[in-house]
Symmetry: C2
Subunit: 100 residues, 2 copies
């Protein structure tokens, strides 16, 4: 495997890893409905502000989301619309498993 191929695999794995946490996946699905401020996500997830902030930083770092500041608040949004399609595929796999 060439260096280049290995780098690409790692980059892809990094994105999938970023999505592979319940809170982060929840955030991504929420953002799929439209942009959200950090404070809303904190409320929905019921965890500490700092925890959400770190999850957002992991998602940002993997290139999936971006944000914009307006007034005092930070609005996050999905950067990659094709994510939505594939999450349906994952759901088709996960749905039967989650019922066991």
């Amino acid at each position: 495997m060439s260096r280049k191929t290995a780098d690409l695999i790692s980059a892809k794995a990094k994105i999938l890893k970023a999505l592979g946490h319940p809170s982060r996946l929840f955030i991504v699905e929420k953002l799929a409905q439209g942009e959200q401020c950090v404070c809303t996500l904190v409320e929905l997830l019921g965890v500490d502000f700092s925890t959400v902030s770190k999850h957002l930083s992991i998602l940002r770092n993997s290139g999936i989301i971006e944000y914009e500041k307006r007034g005092k608040m930070f609005f996050y949004r999905l950067k990659v619309p094709c994510l939505l399609k594939f999450i349906d595929c994952i759901e088709a796999i996960a749905l039967p498993l989650s019922k066991e």
Copy 2:
């Protein structure tokens, strides 16, 4: 968030997490080309047999792959064809990032 919704999110995250490791993603992409025996994967990855075996167990456990024994060897294959499509999406995100 209802219990049911939370379970589904967790199940999906588990799948994504399983894919979120370079060796496991490599395995999945290799299997997308057709079934492979464990020994081939060991050789391609260049890590210990036991390590590959554990990666396979994680992938099996997340419902993505299955295997069949023929002769002395175990042949693994993808259980979920729709995975392929979405990996292209991930690649579209990852490609520019991996060049930085």
